[in-house]
Symmetry: C2
Subunit: 351 residues, 2 copies
DNA sequence: CTGAAAGCGCTTACAG
DNA sequence: CTGAAAGCGCTTACAG
């Protein structure tokens, strides 16, 4: 019951105001002050006011750790991404932070950096923090499958832009649809597009998009042509990867031999690298051939030529992820929350 | 002392394993188990092993909220940024997350989104979480100056890529030096560069860089020429902003009247927008005029022409920020931790 | 409408 | 080298 308000702490910072201090200042019990913070409707207006005055005077804020300890749940949401500096994730993070702030939730961010052990460590750390839920874009690997399966039973986990298998919650782009959209658009321009894919490390969208390309081509009666890439190179430097892979291909006469009139890339960043490689070979996307990306990063509009791409509905994807985090598991009734949002064609100059 | 290990919680998830469970399983007291987790050297090897076995068997992780409550400090580091999707911040965040993970610290991220009230709310929320420290890039505004000054007394706060005044801790690029580097390089190529600046909202680096340009020009005996921009437009869409502002200027004959042979932009993103505007006026950066950016974003290499720029030493900036967060305030002896890191010229095609 | 008491899961002197 | 006890700042039945 010591008045520690002005006691210097060992680290030299000033002490902390507790609910007891507020109660004392307001002439009430700690219980009543607690009720104030937990939205009890039964407080007299007079009482409310006393508390508010005391809080202001003492600059009081409840200790979130104490609250979490007793309620067994925190206001934290964990976000685990393979790579934070990825522009697509930056956008998603921004949208999620906005929603989280409105809900009084805080985002704890972790990067797995292509390392399944770091991914596992991040997950365990989030568990120790009793996070409200986890939004995860996993690495494309089976290493943590068992861990995730077991964690799913303890806490809310939703996969973003990816999924583990049919037995998980996920929100993502409808890759089959969005890639099909682009393939058909390119075909409608009388061009048979070759496909340039990301390395395996990317995330589980990779195989889906590749499959989407193959399916759309076949459905149109065309022969798919997948440009060979070093699929096992563990990198998130997609521009550099695409540049090198395409340089190889062009150098080996791929451009000429294939007769493809365009290249469709798994992501915009791949397309940026591809454009650079094509320039080296004297090709001009949008003029003597077509080039398309996927994702619609902001920078697309400032490339020369401006990149034609597919917009991922990140607004809805982010919203759905945050929505899931708030869901009472009981509401789901044992079903999995699984949402796919369609993409939208954005035609610019490159195709 | 109830064995709650397998008790279903109200939300349907399975119960939580506590230190008591571990102690019981290991046949030891809770105190001893606690010592194990707090690195006590006095534990018998045999005892350690019993505890480790029990932890593994029960899949136990200490509750971080309980730890924080009793120690009065959390493993959380707050990062408050004006805008998360900014590529520069994405890089910084990635570097900081990596260091944080190695230190067992978690990053809680907040965006102020150009709103000083949201900035204040973020700061207060972080305070309630007893964060280990705060890394802050503030909005360019005086609104939260008093709040920050008072918060500085309670907790570690370091300004990133910015500062409040001389009485604060900060780590940042040496704007005077880095901008001077570019101005002198452009002058060495016999080009008098005009300057294209960001809107005020950006952050406190803005006025510094502008001043750096003016100073370097004057030092070289040249007349500075600052392209007029709508400085009060509250936007982080720098490409679009630069594009529009430069379009205006060119449309009014600025390019011709000024006789400037090049444009130096406050940031790379400004340069991307400027390049697009120049193209509209038939100019080709790198050929019939020079264009330079600042920051060295990854995408610079994939623009056409590749952007000449100044590299900010974000590795050292991020490292210094995290280093400060771990510092015992006593070590500083009342002095402020203030670090400026020099930039490095990166010459590519545009200048 | 308000308050006394127990307890959340842990750490930290202190005693043995 | 190990443990019993008090306490961190809060919430939640429960009583009045």
């Amino acid at each position: 019951m010591a008045e520690n308000e002005n006691v210097a702490r060992p680290d030299g910072f000033s002490g902390v105001v507790t609910m007891n201090d507020v109660a004392a200042a307001a002439g009430l019990s700690r219980t009543t002050v607690s009720k104030y913070f937990n939205g009890s409707a039964t407080l007299k207006p007079d009482t409310r006011e006393k508390i508010e005055r005391a809080c202001r005077a003492l600059n009081y804020v409840p200790d979130l750790h104490a609250v979490s300890l007793v309620t067994g749940r925190s206001n934290l949401v964990g976000v685990v991404l393979p790579f934070i500096a990825e522009p697509f994730f930056g956008k998603v993070l921004q949208l999620m932070e906005r929603e989280a702030a409105a809900l009084g939730l805080q985002i704890v961010i972790q990067a797995s950096n292509n390392d399944t052990r770091r991914e596992a460590a991040a997950l365990m750390a989030l568990r120790a923090m009793k996070v409200h839920g986890i939004i995860l874009t996993p690495i494309e690997s089976d290493d943590n499958r068992a861990l995730l399966a077991s964690l799913q039973k303890e806490m809310r986990i939703v996969f973003l832009d990816s999924f583990m298998d049919e037995n998980c919650h996920f929100v993502m782009n409808d890759n089959q649809q969005s890639i099909g959209l682009m393939v058909n658009y390119l075909l409608s321009r009388n061009v048979r597009p070759a496909y340039l894919g990301t390395p395996r490390i990317a995330n589980p969208s990779r195989p889906e998009r590749l499959a989407g390309y193959v399916a759309a081509m076949k459905a149109a009666g065309e022969t798919p042509e997948v440009i060979p890439v070093a699929v096992d190179t563990p990198t998130w430097q997609f521009e550099a990867f695409a540049y090198e892979q395409l340089l190889n291909w062009c150098g080996q006469g791929g451009l000429r031999d294939s007769g493809a009139g365009g290249i469709m890339c798994t992501t915009d960043r791949m397309a940026f690298g591809a454009a650079k490689a094509l320039r080296k070979f004297g090709r001009h996307p949008g003029k003597d051939m077509l080039l398309a990306g996927h994702d619609n990063l902001d920078i697309c509009e400032y490339m020369d030529p401006q990149l034609t791409t597919v917009h991922q509905d990140i607004e809805r994807i982010s919203h759905a992820a945050m929505h899931f985090i708030q869901l009472d598991p009981a509401e789901l009734g044992g079903r999995f929350y699984q949402q796919r949002f369609p993409g939208r064609l954005v035609i610019r100059e490159s195709a």
